[in-house]
Amino acid sequence: MSGNSTYEPKTAFTRWLDTRLPIVRLASDSFIDFPTPRNLNYWYTFGGILTVCLMVQIITGIVLAMHYVPNIDYAFASVQRIDRDVNFGWLIRSIHAVGASMFFLAVYMHIFRGLYYGSYKAPREILWILGVVIYLLMMAAAFLGYVLPWGQMSFWGAMVITNLFGALPLVGEPVTQWLWGGFTVGNETLNRFFSLHYLIPFLIAGVVGLHVWALHVPGNNNPTGISVKTSADTLPFHPYYTVKDGFAIVVFLLIFAGFVFYAPDVLGHADNYIEANALVTPAMIVPEWYLLPFYAILRAVPDKLGGVILMFAAIGVLFVLPWLDTSKVRSMRYRPMARWFFGFFVVACLGLGWAGAELPDTKVPVLGAIGVDFLLLGRVLTLYYFAYFLVILPVLGFVEKPTARPASIEDAVLHGDKPAKAGSAGAAPVAQPAE
């Protein structure tokens, strides 16, 4: 995509087309001959998996919209009708609901991969920022979609999230009423949420296009974090990575299907099978699992506005990460200290999710003996979450001593990840995609 096209049209028609709309050339340069680092591992398959997730959500969503009625008097019943009466409606709705969870599962793998291998560093800052934009849009789409079935969790989730904006000084109340289109969450709210829920996935698809474009200019990062130097460092995308991605997609779809057919509701909340009731709030009001860490950060702050600001800052900090990490070394494979801090960061994110799922006053197992409840756990982990980005990564760049790195990707493939020994370059090429 960076100007060195290898595509040669072979028929009269493709030659004619290529001089008018080089679409086959674009596809060939992007997904067939595209030179890709030869050492990508399975963590690098989640981009393809996420593309599949987006397509599955859009296709099933369009189909569900053929049967769904966005009106507070009919929405809940229309979802029940999809499950019971529409041909294969049970299947299509399960795919859509489970698909949301699978989408987030894949995106978290994808994000942690990027954090570990330094995929956000120069020259890929725009690629990373576009990714964070997609993540934000995904959360918006997931929240809006969750409101549509008009069950108890839908209604009270919408109530709680829209009321967050009430924390804004001065404009809080008018902004909240503007979001509602009334004096509370109601039919107007449901209608606009349906409209926006339909729109956002197409915005995501557009930003994904930009994300792929921004990927194809500098090319893929790779587990060593070393830039591609020669063609010996790369393989054509097809068949090597189409097959590797394809295999990963099949395995992912097996897990996906396992949930769809055997536990379609296990990731959801039973209360959402009770129709929305504006007079009764469910005893346990929690978001879906993939939003729990942010919920824990929100609750960690005793001040309403402060909690809202910190929750948005938790995502906002990702936008500036490329300039917070001062290390010259991309991959944490060669950053002995950063690896530990990264490991703790993953644990902190999981811990925040746990804290978000439990009541604040509940004692944490084991740690409860010394008086640690989930509110305190959430506060400690929130502190670490922000420290990782704002203190640890900026400081590590100056104090950490990276380990020796291989001379090139080719060298890493042929002689392991140890640094190059003298005179070992230029081994015979092997037609074997490296793991």
Binding site: I59, V63, M66, H67, R81, R84, D85, V86, N87, F88, G89, L91, I92, A431, Q432
Partner: protein, 203 residues
């Protein structure tokens, strides 16, 4: 490894070719299997198919009256014909009709389009009920959608003073049979049962 690389000089199939075809074939079968639910979901749903029956109260009708009732979401004409209309309808030679079939869900597909076969004489009668023979002969129930392109014909118009379809000029007689115009078939008669002396159940 060498076994897996096709060698153009040998011209034989390789193991890789087989894997290619097997994988692509499996993907095609899987794709087709996934496609079906997404096609089938647009077919009528179970609750739509389960749309039950419509009961028509006949006591409200005097000879010459006509009402339109909804049955399975579609309008149907229920007409209590006068003796003159019945006589005129019975006087027609079936062989001269554009459509010689009764088009009556209560009868065999091969039943001819006599007025007796078109009228409520073809309706089933619930056990233990006895229905006035004059009523059965005079009562006519048909679909109210023209068999040409589905418009609703106007009552008491056209060459036969029965039904005339304003969309493309189809003329129906007092038996609901097409006599002139583009419509290919007689107005179909729905399945029906007399569940009491004054109640006709469609469906």
């Amino acid at each position: 490894m060498t076994d897996n690389n096709s060698n153009p000089d040998e011209g034989g199939e390789t193991r890789r070719d087989f894997i290619h075809i097997a994988a692509a074939g499996m993907a095609a079968v899987g794709g087709a299997a996934v496609l079906w639910p997404f096609i089938d979901q647009m077919n009528p749903a179970a609750d739509t198919l389960a749309l039950g029956t419509t009961d028509v109260e006949l006591a409200q009708l005097s000879p010459g009256d006509e009402i339109t009732v909804m049955f399975r979401s579609r309008p149907h004409f229920v007409r209590l014909r006068t003796e003159t209309e019945v006589a005129a309808a019975r006087d027609v030679n079936v062989a001269s009709l554009p459509d010689r079939m009764a088009r009556n869900a209560n009868l065999e597909d091969s039943a001819p389009a006599t007025d007796e076969n078109r009228s409520a004489m073809s309706a089933a009668i619930a056990e233990g009920e006895s229905i006035d023979a004059g009523l059965r002969a005079a009562l006519l129930v048909t679909s109210a959608n023209c068999t040409h392109l589905g418009c609703v014909p106007t009552v008491g118009a056209g060459d036969y003073d029965a039904w005339f379809c304003p969309c493309h000029g189809s003329h129906y007689d007092s038996s609901g049979r097409i006599r002139r115009g583009p419509a290919p078939e007689n107005l179909p008669v729905p399945p029906m049962t007399f569940i009491s002396a004054t109640t006709l159940r469609l469906g």
